[in-house]
Symmetry: C2
Subunit: 278 residues, 2 copies
């Protein structure tokens, strides 16, 4: 499933304020729908045609439903691109990209590193991104004005960390098992072998920690648009970079490198970039 | 570093109440010492002779220091076995086994799945175990009376989940990289291949989620006594099992299987158990 890339629809500063506020309301509604199911007995469906094991919880569906309802009521002209219920194009040139629970495996394991991902895409790029962890009461929001973490104890402006050398870098990925082909595994392993430390098990939270300056690089593959679009404005407006494995903007490839600084990005894409004939 | 196994020193019910209360005070003190350093700029030392990379934070040292002071003041006859400052035998037959920050890699990556581990060992086994996550305000406590999770919103009695088949089980391990030898890697991979789902990145939190009934099995290697002793009373008193890879009680081997039910334990140790000639 690909997010259609069209002409960029410009978003004014006042729209950006209004729609960022609305994105927060979507996250509030999703969190309220999801939390009763976290660490409770959850019915797990099996998505047909999705391979071995891809748990979908009732919480996932409940949260996407409430977010879609809110969008349809408030901005009926806006498009919607969601994990659970597919896409609706709209007429505004703006599309909400929704992943109610990124990290369903973390979720069903009781691990509070899953998140609700909400992006507003203008046809060219995401102009607003929200990653919300309602159990931790942490909300990461990025737009062209700023990238900020909101918690119980206040708000913190996000800044990525300068780390010029991969040999000094903390690398994260959700799992070594997300790399499907030998090619992908080899590329990832070449990055892991050069990094100071590799840690698994982050899902969206790994990108949030990169935006917060505690992780230097995330390398993943097999991502859907709703897995990454919300994270781009958070990382970029915290000073970081999100590209495909060749350093370009083909995030629809599902192969993503996020890095806290330009020097590190260059060192990583030199390893992950496509060889001739790939 | 091995925990000396001696004659079991019996602990009365009233002692158990008193010492469990005291273990909670140790966790309070450790959390207060550690939290100011979590997600702040932390000085990272390099432990000599520990291989490539083993971060030790100032928080780690600060927390073990305050716990040792409290023990020495309150129970000068008790032994102490800590990660940072070695062991003190004492005269009581009881030893506090301390890991101020289990999961230092999670800690320095900003991921709130590290924990303070506190066990009281009676020469034969741990009779009290505490796993405390002060950022999440979650405290898991196990003793022969009960296993309980204390959170901001109250307390929950812990129960492992019945999962009779590995093909239905959620497996966790901190990282595929914790298995040093080809033998260990092969054994772990045989378990992972048979499990329904494998998730990495738990540290002590994976065992806590097993005690909570959201994870079915944890298989790890290279553990030190202070990495596992506190988790045993939490898991066992929630209905689960902790053994070495052969199903015995040689946790000093560092190779640990934790399982939520007996049938699953048996299926896993049939895979991890030592072959003749190992």
């Amino acid at each position: 499933m690909k997010l259609p890339v069209t002409k960029a629809r410009s978003v004014s500063r006042s729209e950006l304020y209004e729609l960022t506020e609305f994105a927060g309301q979507l996250a509030d509604a999703a969190g309220a729908a999801i939390l009763p199911y976290f660490r409770s007995s959850v019915e797990i469906d099996h998505k047909p045609g999705r391979g071995d094991f891809d748990p979908v919880t009732v919480a996932d569906i409940a949260a996407e439903t409430v977010m879609r309802e809110l969008i349809t009521q408030t901005y009926p002209e806006h498009g919607i691109f969601g994990e659970e219920f597919g896409s609706f194009t709209g007429t505004s040139g703006l599309t909400w990209v929704l992943d109610p629970i990124d990290g369903t495996r973390a979720f069903i394991s009781g691990i509070p590193l899953w998140g609700t991902l909400i992006a507003l895409h203008n046809g060219e790029q995401s102009v607003i991104g929200v990653a919300d962890q309602p159990y931790l009461q942490e909300r990461f929001i990025g737009n062209s004005l700023q990238a900020t973490l909101y918690t119980r104890s206040g708000e913190t402006r996000l800044h990525t960390r300068q780390c010029d050398k991969l040999s000094q870098a903390t690398l994260m990925a959700t799992s070594p098992d997300i790399f499907d082909t030998a090619h992908e595994k080899d590329k990832f392993e070449s990055v892991a072998a050069a990094a100071k430390m590799t840690r698994y098990g982050g899902d969206c939270y790994a990108y949030c920690m990169l935006a917060s300056g505690f992780v230097d690089v995330v390398v993943e593959a097999g991502l859907q648009p709703y897995d990454i679009q919300a994270l781009v404005p958070i990382i970029e407006n915290a000073g970081g970079y999100v590209t495909d494995w060749s350093g370009g903007n083909d995030l629809a490839s599902g192969r993503v490198v996020a890095a806290g600084c330009q020097a590190l990005l260059q060192e990583v894409i030199a390893l992950t970039g496509q060889s001739p004939g790939d």
